[in-house]
């Protein structure tokens, strides 16, 4: 049994078929990349897994649980965490507070014990902070720890969003374009982190990314999508040389080995 199984999933927005009968499996411990031109339906696949959308047809199971029987806010409890293509952080809060929200699925105390700050709530807070400090150290965020998100540069925000997802200690991490808008050095850092997340933390990763350099460097398997349909699945090299993939990208100039171009 694979960690994540998507079977024959279809989603329509009115007349537009955003995801067309897509099936894929993410195995435990692997980095799985989803590539494709703009509007291919990659983010929509993520939003389906997150249960923001209801598919018209198909099945999505994670770790033996039928995700379609659950709501969006129950998805994290199975061990799925995600980032967003356009960064969705809590703007009026500090980096630390953002990461602490990532711990939400691990909370064990209720409103009453929070209000009176019971000893149990206190020790729970301490545990959350220990976990969050580890993420801060891992991602080198010490300097930004108590800064408000509102004033942070774009690159740092991307890292904070990764940190918030990591703080939830997921089994599967969904990264929607983790390197978009990042400088070459920042992209390199991101690649190292993704490798460490896979090998040292044992977290499986599914990512959407246009930077084929990053995709080739970190992913075990790649699936190419176009117009909601699967074009090819395999290693990065296999997918990049697949005729259907080359055709889909023809003229867009997007797919390249260095992968610096991005619409």
């Amino acid at each position: 049994m694979s960690l994540l199984e998507i079977e024959n999933v279809t989603l329509r927005f009115g007349g537009l078929v955003a995801v067309d009968n897509v099936s894929l499996r993410v195995e435990e411990g692997e980095v799985f990349a989803l590539v494709g031109p703009n509007g291919a339906g990659k983010s929509t696949v993520f939003n389906l897994i997150s249960r923001f959308y209801d598919p018209a047809e198909g099945r999505i199971t994670f770790d033996g649980h039928d995700l379609l029987g659950h709501t969006a806010d129950q998805v994290p409890s199975f061990g799925i965490a995600r980032t967003f293509q356009n960064i969705e952080l809590f703007e009026q809060a500090t980096v630390l507070q953002n990461l602490l929200v990532g711990r939400h699925r691990h909370r064990r105390t209720g409103v009453l014990s929070n209000i009176v700050f019971s000893p149990k709530a206190h020790s729970e807070e301490r545990r959350h902070r220990e976990a969050v400090e580890q993420v801060i150290d891992f991602l080198n965020l010490q300097h930004y720890r108590d800064k408000m998100i509102g004033g942070l540069p774009y690159g740092v925000r991307k890292v904070v969003e990764l940190g918030r997802a990591l703080a939830s200690e997921p089994k599967l991490l969904l990264l929607d374009e983790p390197a978009s808008g990042l400088s070459v050095e920042e992209t390199q850092d991101m690649a190292f982190w993704i490798e460490d997340i896979q090998t040292q933390m044992g977290i499986s990763v599914m990512m959407v990314e246009h930077d084929m350099g990053l995709v080739s460097a970190v992913s075990n398997r790649v699936m190419a999508l176009s117009d909601g349909k699967e074009l090819a699945t395999g290693t990065a090299a296999e997918v990049q040389s697949h005729p259907a993939v080359i055709e889909a990208y023809l003229g867009t100039g997007e797919i390249s080995k260095t992968g610096t171009s991005r619409a």
Partner: protein
């Protein structure tokens, strides 16, 4: 500039960031505890009654601040929850239940009823939620009239005195006791509020305020969390309403009107949305304006023989002040205070744009 070295995880769980801060709040506590001494000395407790009124407003303000400032849900109907708390308190006391039980109970029931009323509108956003709560506020007076057996209707109802284990507390005959009682409730609620904000419950509120979509992606149940915030908010408003009743002595269908709901909202915006301090700063402003206008009037009349009798002057001044704040100081009075404090802490390194918020980046293609 002060650097806070973290020596343990407790460092930022604690109520006070550093010792100097704890000392300042301790001094403030001493000041508010000693305030009645001054009025005993001058032998006139009139102004102390006004200060008590400000504290009651601040309690209601904290309730609204939790909902609007920290959860991002506007309400133009908090006077309704104050009315609920007030009339519940009157009726529970009337049924012979001791104040020490009736008072918290009326807050809790007001919170519960408030949540039940609010559940259908919790799915609404921004201006729609504001309109729904506005409608509730408009209907309140009619409901008070309809529920005459419990509320006294248009004729109104007298609020029984407070009796705590035989100790009588009345705004006029024992103003000092009443002040300390209200102060105790206010401080207790501040402590609860601070605890909320440093634990998962409060963080889930602010998460919803800043991004509903990523709050959900982090496992926060929107409906349940909003309902929790509404419950706590309406409970605080209910408690404030009960105290307001004791302070007024007599309440009618016009006591908890729309103007009061609007005043509460203005108050927290002027004070500074998203800060507990904001509720207090706002309450002080709202408490001072009528006194200032009255004094200004009599000053003009006695010194220059100018008589100003413009009806609605207070509301107009309120509106002006609010517009001024939204235009020039969106972070409210507390924001202004933060800037002044930072200026002195960093002297002479303060930069003018230090508090400028960077323009936020693209928002996600909103998932509906």
């Amino acid at each position: 500039m002060r650097f806070v070295f973290k020596t343990s995880y407790d460092a930022d769980i604690r109520l006070f960031k550093h010792r100097a801060q704890a000392v300042w709040y301790f001094l403030l506590l001493l000041l508010v505890l000693a305030t009645p001494l001054y009025f005993v000395a001058i032998g006139d407790a009139y102004l102390l009654g006004e200060i008590t009124g400000v504290l009651i407003l601040a309690i209601a303000g904290m309730g609204l601040m939790l909902l609007t400032g920290h959860t991002g849900l506007p309400s133009l109907g908090h006077a309704t929850f104050m009315a609920l708390g007030c009339y519940l308190n009157i009726n529970l006391l009337g049924a012979g239940i001791p104040w020490i039980i009736a008072f918290p109970l009326s807050g809790l029931i007001a919170g519960l009823l408030g949540t039940i009323i609010a559940l259908p509108v919790l799915r609404l956003h921004g201006v729609y939620l504001a309109l729904a709560t506005l409608a509730m506020s408009i209907l309140t007076s009619d409901f008070v009239v309809m529920a005459e057996p419990w509320t006294g209707g248009i004729a109104g109802a007298a609020v029984p005195d407070i009796n705590i284990f035989g100790m009588e507390v009345n705004r006029y005959s024992t103003p000092y006791k009443f002040y300390y009682l209200v102060l105790f409730v206010a401080i207790l609620l501040v402590w609860f509020y601070r605890n909320l904000l440093r634990t998962p419950t409060g963080r889930s509120f602010t998460a919803i305020r800043d991004s509903e979509i990523s709050a959900r992606a982090m496992g926060i149940n929107l409906t349940r969390t909003k309902a929790t915030s509404f419950f706590l908010s309406a409970t605080a408003a209910g408690l404030a309403g009960a105290l307001f009743g004791h302070s007024a002595g007599y309440v009618t269908n016009e006591t908890f009107d729309l103007v009061m709901s609007i005043t509460l909202l203005l108050m927290i915006v002027i004070g500074g949305l998203g800060f507990i301090h904001g509720a207090f700063f706002g309450a002080i402003v709202v408490g001072i304006i009528p006194v200032a206008i009255a004094n200004g009037r009599s000053f003009l009349a006695s010194t220059f023989d100018i008589n100003i009798n413009i009806p609605g002057l207070e509301s107009a001044l309120f509106a002006l002040i609010l517009v001024g704040f939204i235009l020039f100081e969106p972070m409210g009075l507390y924001g202004r205070w933060l800037k002044i404090r930072t200026y002195f802490e960093l002297f002479p390194f303060y930069r003018k744009d230090m508090f400028k918020r960077q323009k936020s980046y693209l928002k996600t293609d909103r998932v509906q």
